[in-house]
Amino acid sequence: MKLTGAEIFVESLKREGVKTVFGLPGGVVLKIFDVLYGEKDLDFVLVRHEQAAIHMAEAYARATGKVGVALVTSGPGATNTVTGLVNANLDSCPIVVFTGQVLTSLIGNDAFQEADIVGISRSCTKHNYLVKHVNELAQTIKEAFYIAGSGRPGPVLVDIPKDVSMAMAEFTYPDKVYIRGYNPTYEGNKWQIKQAAEAILKAERPVLYVGGGVINSDGSGELQSLAELLNIPVTMTLMGLGAFPGTHPLSLGMLGMHGAHATNLAVHNCDLLIAVGSRFDDRVTGKINEFVPHAKIIHVDVDPTSIRKNIHVDIPIVGDARAVLRDLLAQVTAMVGGKRREGKTPWLTQIATWESERPLTYKADAKVIKPQFVIDMIYRRTRGEAIITSDVGQHQMWTAQFYKFAKPRTWLNSGGLGTMGYGFPAALGAQRAFPDQLVVCITGDGSFQMNLQELSTAMAYDLPVKVAIINNGYHGMVRQWQQLFYDGHYSASRIECGPDYVKLAEAYGAVGLRATEPHEVDDLLDEAFAVRKPVLMDFQVDPYENCYPMVPAGGAIHQMVYEDPQPEAGGRPSTPKDTQKESISLA
């Protein structure tokens, strides 16, 4: 059967089981949109800006575990996807982005709306393709989905020239795909797993340090069994939150720059660090040559380039987190005769002591809304069960600290790239995947303004996300760094003339609510969560609240700062002098 390239495109997506496509049309993709017209099996979400389409596709993928899909036009449509692609690449998220391209005969001629998107996106995609002939289209789409979703997941871009979508070809969708240069390793090496099991049983002070890889591989069950079998405490990276229940007695929460006192001390003092699907990011390790000075390191990762990239590893295991955890669990179970290690080990007692020394907490106030208080209230109300998205900055770290995620795939945020503007479109993508779930976007006034145009999309597609704006009138994390490390020079961090968010919501037909005092927060959340409409909640919080504990950039993670420095005689907040210079140079 002969089909046009556009029909082949749509048929191929259906064969891949795609249900939802996010994007925006334009000249060179009109043929494809013509086929989408009246198409019942594919549901298209029209965004207001292409960047948002990529974040939506990413959040959709992250929340469902399937590959997310976006379709945009050439030129500016394509270049607007770049931030989303880099974001998905750094956070290992499977998406396939289709861009239109000018006629093959015009490529390289500076044609109208032409951009070399394959060249531009080469270094920020897992792989990309320019389809030069309609005969290659189906095969390319098959490969794109396979590459995006397998191994270490990532974004794949497919550039389709206009004439390719118009030309006719025989359509057969390949059943299988074989790429000779690409064979991800899933099963861990048996010998290495045995070595790891022995090291785990020998360790007195082990810590499991798990990241997004455990969530990507759906390995939470195996992780929990292993941790419970041997009573090993578990700390999670920002991307790993949700991999292990946040309220579990063995959970240490997040580690690193804004990790809790006990968590960072546990990591610093451990004698065995079991890293699974995490990559020793600089926000986790702090000063790398003082990281885990007493520990042997086991590192499990599906991507060999992650291993020994930042740190020496004693027992490297290349493989899928879930597969390796399963084998490790079997090996350890066999070695201990299936018996659970009961009771508190001296190690867990020590960690509990650190916890009671300096618990993760905040000082509530009767007059001013503390940002942590809002997040705490959202947590209590949802009991860790909602899908939470966040943007980037202080509110993101507070959410990571105070929202205890019960399940994987419920925490969607921009970890690696730190993309402000991610949270709101991400919430819409997740809501589209799960129309009946509560989706809350915890954002800041800085971040929200980077993609607020999608309020229109939320209304158009009836996506009742709840947006909690932690409004402090600042780029808060920037202001915090300026206070601590740049002598209080608040250069360009104050956000002046922010909109009236209540009116803004109303202008789009959404619901706008505002709280300026702590006693209003509870009722406001009640009201917001009860209405089935997009809601913007403007929480006017203490603008000077800082996020603690904090490891100054370049410092070792056990050397945390816990509170604002006391003001010097001049009235200006002082700076932690010993780390100041280094922080600036290494930040």
């Binding site: 394959v118 240069g181 991507d303 380039t305």
Partner: protein, 175 residues
């Protein structure tokens, strides 16, 4: 230290720039590069000479392996290998220097491939050291132009035997 990395890649457009991009994105220089077809026309072979410490090279090798279009990565410097480079040199030929030029060309088994009343163009093939030595000898006579091919290299045995280099004898180079 210097490394010679041999890459078997898909013979497609855009592959070379992916490979080169890995180096440039990390600020590493490629000392020399050569690309050519292989026995199988669907694959190409890229030979890259680069420099860097152990950790950097381990990372580069892994990253190269990660590229979808790269089929195989071999660090030839880990074992015995044979390398060659071809160079074309144009030299001035003043009457008083001609005898000396001929002598050097003879010693290095180079070949004059073109001549004009004022210049000789000489071709020399050998490993990098030999080519380097030859150029240095000619330098006093006055080099007019120099074109060096990228270096190419091949492992002395198949991959299996490659780790067993101690047992092998040095093969005297055939004329």
């Amino acid at each position: 230290m210097e490394r010679i990395i041999s890459l078997l890649v898909e013979n497609k457009f855009g592959v070379l720039v992916r490979v080169a991009g890995l180096f440039s994105a990390r600020g590493f220089n490629i000392e020399s590069l050569s690309v050519g077809p292989t026995i199988d026309p669907s694959m190409s072979l890229i030979t890259i000479v680069t420099e860097g410490d152990e950790r950097i090279l381990e990372q580069i090798t892994k990253q190269l392996n990660k590229l979808i279009d790269v089929i195989k990565v071999v660090d030839l410097t880990e074992n015995d290998f044979v390398e060659r480079e071809t160079t074309l040199v144009k030299i001035h030929t003043r009457t008083e220097d001609r005898a000396e030029a001929f002598r050097i060309i003879e010693i290095f088994r180079a070949k004059i491939v073109d001549s004009t009343p004022t210049t000789y163009t000489v071709e020399i093939t050998g490993d990098a050291q030999k080519v380097e030595a030859f150029i240095n000898q000619l330098r006093p006579l006055g080099l007019k132009e120099l074109v060096r091919s990228g270096r190419i290299a091949i492992a002395r045995d198949d991959a299996k035997a490659a780790g067993d280099h101690k047992r092998r004898q040095v093969v005297v180079e055939a004329k």
